[in-house]
Homo-oligomer: 280 residues x 2
């Protein structure tokens, strides 16, 4: 059966209503398009657990702090649609901006504490935009479960907190990061790297692993962090935006290990910003 | 049949599930208790339009800017329960604070523009607390419709904006203010007035009416506002906190009439703060 492309909210609600009436579990995979294998395993997981799988493709203007970033974000709906069909999704919801924001937004969902560090520190309003659009998509589609990649660990933590704190009856399913054979986390941004930059990019994952090994061997977070920073500093093409050992739930840097942590970093390679993180 | 008292979220969800299964429309009346005739007509309206009517009674700690205000807020669950039964509600959801906030809240719903004026101007965080708890109650009960009094016009405007902007599939039903025969809007705070203060309180409504008459006769908002302020200033026991002609949707003061407006005011009579508003 051919995948269904839904452009209007009313079409989405009707598709969900029919799936519910047929007793199907609804699985939602929110994306901004430019789909790759990292999204693919989100769809696979949703497919395995749901009767009706919806992929949303929406480049959300309110989460970009710079308009130029929003403008140049990769958009290729025909390719994304073909990819979703191949991965077995039932429907793609790809609304226009006016369908999602018929007027300037007046109401926002915020997680101030969880947005303070890491990617939130340098991108004011970014996670407010993310939480708000995900809350909207959740209310639009009313899924039983929604699937998010661990690569965006801070986003995932904020969405988990939103669902818990606002009592949304939705299961948030975290899906591990997909990596190229050399360890680089798959991202739509990787295609912007020059061949030379691409050859240096796996150092990010190796630095995170080295910090994780340090922690496993008993180092305190400050030591583990410093060894990873030292490793990255030996490559002059890499500029570190942040590298932190954070509590896995609160996304706040820790100086002692008292529970599950993540080691998270953002680096720049030329004009391209890469993020990655690993659990311990 | 006796009304059901639900204390736990799981009980609420189960009651809603059963009502849905029976094909009933769910009507929600969120309150902080201390119920009076103003709440009564909310319940009546919900009763007329719903198969299953839930009144929530929860004094929400995060919407009070002063802890003392929260502590002294009137609580009388047995009386409220009897009142809900008499008005024909099916269930009362009256959770403990720990059921609603099992840990300090990390995620908030905000309507910054709509909270800037009127009651929001002097109560930082108040409407953030209101929007957040109402979002939670909506997710908990998943009602088809929810009923709010027009007396709290700014709260109503924020909740209408929340439901629209976050795409919540809930009908918000505004219910007109209930007044004593002398015009005073019914409020749980009225019981705090001394007999002398009570005799002066109806001046608030008369001042709002005088402003509305002025607008109807072609006065600009500044003139209408000033005539109402003059009227209130002749009573030394009354201190005006604000009195504004605002756009009915944005809750922002207007200097020209270009669409529906509300005239809204807050006054102090001794230790008691009274609010009221009327549409034009």
């Amino acid at each position: 059966m051919s995948i269904r492309l839904l452009k209007r909210l009313a079409e989405l609600r009707e598709a969900v209503r029919q799936a519910r009436q047929a007793g199907q579990r609804i699985g939602l995979v929110p994306t901004m398009g430019a789909l790759h294998a990292g999204h693919g395993i989100l769809i696979d997981r949703a497919r395995a657990e749901s009767g009706f799988v919806i992929v949303t493709i929406f480049v959300n203007p309110i989460q970009f702090d710079r308009p130029s970033d929003f403008e140049r974000y990769t958009r290729n709906l025909p390719a994304d649609l073909a990819y979703c069909q191949q991965r077995g999704a039932d429907a793609v919801f790809a609304p226009d901006a006016a369908e999602v924001y018929p007027h300037p937004p007046r109401v926002f969902v915020e997680a101030p504490g969880l947005s303070e560090h890491l990617c939130g520190a340098n991108r004011p309003g970014h996670f407010r935009g993310v939480a708000t659009v995900v809350a909207k998509l959740f209310q639009m589609a009313q899924p039983d479960a929604a699937y998010f990649g661990e690569k965006d660990a801070q986003q995932l933590a904020i969405i988990q907190a939103m669902v818990e704190d606002l009592n949304m009856p939705i299961a948030i399913v975290p899906v591990p990061t997909v990596r190229d054979p050399d360890g680089l986390a798959i991202s739509s941004r990787n295609s912007r790297l020059t061949p030379q930059e691409r050859s240096k990019a796996p150092l990010l994952y190796r630095a995170l692993q080295s910090a994780a090994n340090g922690l496993a061997a008993g180092a305190v977070p400050a030591q583990a962090r410093q060894s990873a920073l030292d490793m990255l500093s030996r490559e002059p093409a890499i500029k570190v935006e942040y590298l932190e050992v954070v509590d896995a739930r609160s996304m706040t840097p820790v100086d002692q290990i008292r529970g599950p942590v993540r080691i998270a970093a953002a680096i720049w390679l030329g004009e391209t910003r890469l993020i990655d993180n690993i659990p311990t």
